[in-house]
């Protein structure tokens, strides 16, 4: 199993930390992992993205241009990465601010209204974990148990009290993800 993922959105949406928690969780589950951020000046106020690879084998290139899954959190990222999803791959997006819907017919498309749901529930700080939950429902590349271990390993001790809220957000994400099309 090798899962090559791009997570893309605005700086501040928790794109990089979502990728980090996913990578940590994979590492705790004894997978090979890599986390490669875009570290250009575009991170300041613009778009941010990170490639995460989780694999049972040694990872060749951490720098990838085609993805098994694209997790998309704004229109610019949808425009940029829709065509980088491998045929038969997964596109998961948050519809908030999306005006031009994806058009590919050869990929599986899912929607998670995490911006709306997290605002409604007063959980905006764990918005990214809701998206992560939606992804894990579609592609269970790491199990729940290891998400918790990943959170413990990646968050500093003083933030460990926030882990239950994060896990709750993962659960909600799993519940609210909607299938748009499957191939």
């Amino acid at each position: 199993m090798t899962e090559e993922i791009i997570i893309a959105g605005f700086g501040g949406q928790g794109v990089l930390s979502m990728g980090k928690i996913l990578a940590y969780s994979g590492a705790m589950q004894d997978k090979e992992v890599s986390w490669m951020p875009s570290y250009g000046p575009e991170m300041r106020g613009g778009t941010a993205n990170v490639s995460v690879i989780i694999s049972d084998e040694r990872i060749s290139s951490p720098i990838i241009s085609q993805f098994d899954t694209a997790i998309i959190l704004n229109q610019q990222s949808l425009d940029k990465f829709e065509h980088s999803v491998k045929p038969g791959g997964v596109l998961l997006y948050d519809p908030n601010g999306i005006t031009k819907l994806p058009t590919r017919k050869d990929i599986n498309i899912y929607k998670v209204a995490a911006t709306e749901k997290s605002a409604e529930m007063g959980m905006v700080k764990t918005f990214n974990m809701m998206v992560l939950g939606a992804f894990l429902k579609v592609k269970p590349v790491v199990t729940e148990e290891y998400i918790e271990k990943g959170l413990k390993k990646s968050l500093p001790e003083r933030h460990h009290k926030l882990i239950p809220d994060n896990l709750k957000a993962v659960e909600i994400g799993k519940e609210i993800v909607e299938t748009i099309q499957t191939v």
């Binding site: 590492a27 986390w35 570290y39 000046p41 060749s60 290139s61 951490p62 990646s154």
Partner: protein, 361 residues
């Protein structure tokens, strides 16, 4: 040795390795994409645990001269920077090489020339392996291709630096510096005691006892005849490195008809291109130089008799390819494929370059 699993950026791995390998001092000045090295050290405060000094100098010129001073006292000292900062250090580097001082310099390369970009590049190969500063000297150059190697090579660097009394450079790039991967770290190696420094670096200027002459650290010699002898000694040392210290990795070379030659992050991309090529039935492999000086000339020469062609893949306009061509001695076709200015080639375009420039050319 107890092994502990961590998930870290390449830059952080350099810093963690410095602390764990008994480094005495780090002197540096921030620059993207390697600022995490000093950031991590400042957060970890090793001076409270191991006594390691971490100092932000006022410039790169100052950093490299602090390294000269520390190294002259027999200490394990280092600096890190990225391309424009490393250019500023060239004078210091040739002085260090001339005075035969062991030290570690890490270059996390970004796109050039000039201030260039902050994205990954490999366009400092010539500077690292062919001089950079003036005079006939060589740095020992290690090229890590993973976070684990960023860590491991710091330990290796001290061994080489003190064995040969020579500056060692870790030539990395923005991608390996910024990527986060699994890392296994080992036990702490204690910093050398005064007695160990006297034993391991008897040439150092650590204070003159009545029982011996002065130890003098200098790269200046006004007598040309003596300077020629000094140069001969340096050259003999470089030849010894070539005999003893060449390191490389071969992937899928056994049955290969074509090989990529690539180091650092380009080697990782080439590995992916091999997978794609093998799926298409192309017998392709990779030779990854781990030491750029000394270069795996002999092994490439042998492979040039086995394969039909070699493609040097670099994030540069073609620098290492010159060494590959010298090794192949026209026995097989050698071409270069590169992107520059901070652009990273994709595995697909690397494979396509192999097909158009070598296989179908």
């Amino acid at each position: 040795m107890a092994k502990e699993l961590k998930l870290m950026k390449g830059n952080e791995a350099i810093a963690e390795a410095a602390i764990r390998s008994g480094c005495d001092g780090y002197f540096g000045y921030p620059i993207t994409p390697q600022s995490e090295v000093m950031e991590y050290l400042m957060l970890e405060k090793p001076w409270e645990r191991t006594g390691m000094v971490v100092l932000q100098a006022e410039s790169e010129v100052s950093s490299i001269n602090m390294v000269y001073g520390g190294a002259g006292a027999g200490k394990k000292v280092m600096t890190s920077s990225s391309s424009p900062g490393i250019s500023l250090m060239q004078e210091g580097l040739t002085y260090l090489a001339g005075a035969e001082l062991p030290c570690l310099v890490v270059n996390v390369v970004r796109g050039g020339p000039g201030l260039g970009t902050i994205q990954p590049s490999q366009a400092d190969y010539f500077q690292a392996t062919k001089g950079g500063g003036h005079g006939d000297y060589q740095l020992f150059v290690l090229a890590p291709a993973s976070v684990q190697e960023m860590y491991d090579f710091v330990f290796d660097a001290w061994d080489i630096a003190f064995k040969y009394r020579n500056p060692v450079m870790i030539l990395s790039d923005g991608a390996i510096g910024q990527v986060m991967e699994k890392l296994y770290v080992g036990d702490y190696v204690p910093r050398w005691t005064e007695e160990q420094i006297h034993e391991n670096a008897p040439w150092a200027a650590f204070g003159k006892p009545a029982t011996r002459d002065h130890n003098i650290i200098t790269s200046l010699e006004l007598d040309s005849a003596k300077e020629e002898i000094h140069n001969q000694k340096l050259q003999a040392k470089y030849r010894e490195m070539e005999r003893n210290e060449v390191r490389f990795e071969e992937i899928n070379c056994e049955d290969a008809e074509y090989i990529f030659v690539a180091y650092g992050s380009s080697a990782r991309i080439a590995q992916k291109a091999i997978q794609l090529g093998r799926e298409k039935g192309i017998k392709v492999g990779l030779l990854r130089p781990i030491t750029l000086f000394p270069f795996p000339t002999k092994r490439l020469g042998e492979l040039s008799k086995q394969v039909k062609g070699m493609l040097s893949v670099e994030m540069s306009a073609g620098q290492m390819v010159t060494d590959v061509r010298l090794a192949a001695e026209n026995r097989c076709k050698v071409e270069h494929y590169g992107r520059f200015g901070g652009m990273i080639p994709t595995p697909h375009e690397v494979l396509e370059a192999m097909e158009t420039k070598i296989i179908n050319a």
